[in-house]
């Protein structure tokens, strides 16, 4: 690869001859991402600003489709021997990327080798913990992070004289009221059915989703979410689905329009939904913390993150890594983090940026933008709430969603559905364990 680049550069230099401009020395850094709309603009601006700030490196961002599409494109490119330098991978792809020793360059190592100043302590541990080894070595660079929040249509709640619910029983009660008063098709709903109702639910109540600290401590992890709490929660959803006090809105975020259109007045989904809510909602809204079951001791714990991180791919030259390292330092800059936070609604990843946004009074006008940060830092994370690292996670989620759908459709009981999710999921985890690089 490097040699070929050199050859091409040399040939080019010869043809251009003495008129060679300094532009020839520029090293290109390919950055593949999955951001659309306003967030795509943020990416382009970041790259442009970086390119303007120095003259040795040029970051070239390329949109590669959805999160899974981007990851697949990166994997395919790696197999073909021309992976990008930086690849944006969603949080559920973390285990797959981690297992690919040799295909990726751990961020902490790259920063060290490039001689960039880098202190993991400057970053919010609730966010970086997800992408670090158990020793605290940062493997990938968190780029856009979010968490689950409960979006509330304040106008509709006012109409039924309801307060913002704090616990699940209160949510059910308010949803019932909404359902009986003008919302017959949806009392409340949620996107990302497994993220909200299994993954976050478990962390928020400090119960394990899987053994070995949800997989963070090893690939030989086993799923454990067919436990009383999760079963009870799903049973409740199944019961409420019957008259649409709860109404299922699909596996991903395709149902989010039901909140902004006013159909569902309570909607649990990512905090990154903010951009769309702000642009489309014609009512007063806010984002409340996720509800919890008050009979669970110690609840609420802390939430886990969603979103994506930047992985540096392996097999590049030292010079290229130097550029990538400089770019990551550039992204970590406090003002830049505050900018990303404000422009996209994604969370700041450094403590300094969070403090600065707070000091600027940013959350006074828009308290809902602090909700996910408060959730993430609610308590010191435990084994059950540090994060998840399960192989084949994308497909695991599909399998779990399939089973939940069957429960909601009344074809299985909640317990049967979760038992089957665990059993089928474990088979897939063992499959992943077999292929993972040891």
């Amino acid at each position: 690869m490097a040699l070929r680049h050199f050859g091409a550069a040399a040939a080019f230099a010869v043809t251009v001859g003495l008129t060679a401009s300094p532009a020839l020395a520029i090293t290109e850094i390919q950055w593949w991402h999955a951001m659309t709309g306003a967030n795509n603009d943020v990416i382009v601006k970041l790259a442009n600003d970086f390119n303007a700030s120095q003259s040795d490196y040029k970051v070239v961002p390329t949109y590669k489709g959805s999160y899974p599409d981007t990851m697949n494109a990166g994997i395919a490119a790696f197999r073909a021997g021309n992976a990008p330098h930086i690849m944006q991978v969603f949080e559920v792809g973390t285990a797959t990327m981690m297992a690919a020793t040799g295909a990726v360059k751990p961020v902490y190592k790259m920063m060290q080798e490039a001689g960039e100043k880098f202190d993991p302590k400057n970053y919010l541990s609730a966010i970086t913990g997800y992408y670090s080894t158990s020793k605290g070595e940062m493997l990938s660079f968190p780029f856009n992070s979010s968490s689950t929040v409960m979006w509330i249509n304040l106008d509709e709640l006012k109409k039924v004289n309801a307060e913002i619910p704090k616990t699940w029983p209160e949510v059910f009660e308010v949803a019932k009221k909404l359902h009986d008063n003008g919302h017959p098709t949806c009392g409340f709903s949620n996107s990302w059915v497994t993220w909200v109702n299994l993954e976050q639910l478990s962390a928020w109540h400090n119960v394990p989703l899987a053994s070995k600290a949800n997989g963070l401590d090893g690939f030989d992890t086993k799923l454990e979410f067919n436990a009383p709490l999760q079963v009870k929660h799903l049973e409740k959803l199944v019961e409420l689905q019957k008259d649409k006090t709860y109404d299922y809105a699909g596996r991903t975020n395709q149902g989010e329009g039901r909140f902004t259109s006013g159909e569902c007045a309570i909607y649990l989904t990512s905090s990154a939904f903010f951009g769309n809510v702000k642009a489309q909602a014609k009512f007063n809204f806010t984002a409340a913390p996720m509800p919890y079951y008050p009979d669970v001791k110690g609840a609420p714990q802390n939430s886990i993150i969603g979103g994506a991180s930047l992985w540096v791919m392996g097999g590049k030259s030292a010079d290229e890594y130097k550029g990538v390292a400089k770019f990551l330092t550039f992204l970590s800059d406090t003002d830049r983090q505050v900018y990303i936070h404000k422009a996209s609604g994604y969370l700041p990843i450094t403590k300094a940026a969070y403090d600065k946004a707070k000091a600027e009074g940013f959350y006074k006008d828009q308290p809902y933008l602090e909700t996910p940060l408060l959730e993430l830092t609610n308590k010191e994370p435990t084994e059950n709430s540090r994060g998840l690292r399960l192989g084949n996670m994308v497909q695991l989620r599909d399998v779990w969603a399939e089973e939940i759908e069957q429960a909601l459709a009344g074809k299985k009981t909640a317990k049967q559905a979760l038992d089957a999710s665990v059993e089928r999921g474990n088979t897939m985890l063992r499959q992943f364990e077999k292929t993972a690089v040891k």
Binding site: P68, N72, I75, F78, R79, T96, A99, A100, T101, G102, A103, T185, C186, Q241, Y248, A249, G250, R251, G255, G257, R258, E263, N392, V394, Q395, D398, A401, E402, E403, E405, Q406, L408, A409, K411, M428, Q431, K434, T435, A436, V437, K438
Partner: protein, 293 residues
């Protein structure tokens, strides 16, 4: 009579076939061979660790009850799609074949949907029948039907079959129309003189004479339902709810690209390939004999 050599040079015929052969070799045989090889391997998504496992991928596949369910489902989908699109297309073709005022307009409009790409078809139907956005679902609900293909597997399956069949109607219609035009008018007139009513004329004269077209379309439709419905399923249901719209092709994609399990995905492709070869073989060998030309 002795055949005259058309080509003077012996090499020319080969040279003329070469581009076609090259395409078949590069785009069919080579990937097929790779799939066969991959199906014997256990490999991580990045291709960093590879081990040869003989038939383990196949054994695992067949020890999975869900795989059989997917096979049965795929066949059901194929026959449902083929039967509905063929019968509707035949009906439309027979109607459009009659001397009508503005017949050309009807025919053009009926052929139109064929130009629509499968994912677009999926999106169209999703919008019409989405439980909360869809226009049609509003009528269905008004009619007292609890319409929710996001949760109800049978409804989701109906939706996919409907969309897939709708798209294929144009293609079938076109061939049926051509087939009908090729039926000699004299035969039909003779039957009419003998006193056969239109229905009888259709079943005893038109239908048998159309059988080569029907046979050809049956093969094409089943292959279409096996493979080309991927775009429709992906945009409409992604195989859900549950597994109620996951066909064999969708499972290949899901396990290989989403799940990163390339070995199993390759094994499934190989099985799929064998199935289609056998299917086509049977049809050409046995069904063809019963077709009256």
């Amino acid at each position: 009579m002795q055949k005259q050599p058309i080509f003077r040079s012996k090499l020319l015929p080969y040279a003329l076939v070469a581009p076609q052969l090259a395409i078949v070799l590069i785009f069919f045989y080579w990937p097929a061979l790779q799939a066969v090889i991959q199906s014997f391997l256990l490999q991580d998504a990045f291709g960093l660790s590879t081990s040869f496992v003989w038939f383990e991928n196949y054994v695992e596949l067949f020890s999975e009850p869900a795989y059989f369910e997917t096979i049965v489902r795929t066949f059901f989908f194929s026959f449902a799609i083929a039967a509905s699109s063929l019968s509707v297309a035949l009906l439309l073709a027979v109607m459009a074949d009659k001397p009508l005022r503005g017949g050309a307009i009807y025919r053009t409009l009926l052929i139109w949907p064929y130009a629509v790409a499968p994912p677009v078809v999926g999106v169209l139907w999703v919008f019409m029948l989405h439980p909360s956005l869809g226009v049609l679902s509003r009528y269905l609900r008004a009619a007292g039907i609890e319409w929710n293909p996001l949760l109800d597997g049978d409804q989701a399956a109906t939706l996919v079959i409907l969309a897939a069949a709708w798209k294929q109607i144009s293609y079938n219609f076109l061939f049926f129309l051509a087939g009908l035009a090729a039926i000699p008018k004299s035969v039909l007139e003779a039957a009419a003189i003998d006193g056969a009513r239109p229905m009888r004329r259709f079943w005893t004269v038109t239908f048998p004479l159309l059988s080569p077209t029907i046979f050809f379309l049956l093969v094409v439709n089943i292959v279409y339902a096996f493979f080309d419905t991927f775009g429709i399923i992906d945009t409409m249901t992604r195989g859900g709810p549950g597994k109620s719209t996951e066909t064999l092709v969708y499972k290949v994609y899901n396990d290989g690209l989403i799940g990163g399990n390339l070995g199993s995905s390759a094994a499934q492709s190989v099985i799929l390939m064998i199935m289609v070869i056998v299917l086509t073989g049977i049809q050409f060998r046995f069904v063809e004999r019963k077709v009256t030309y």
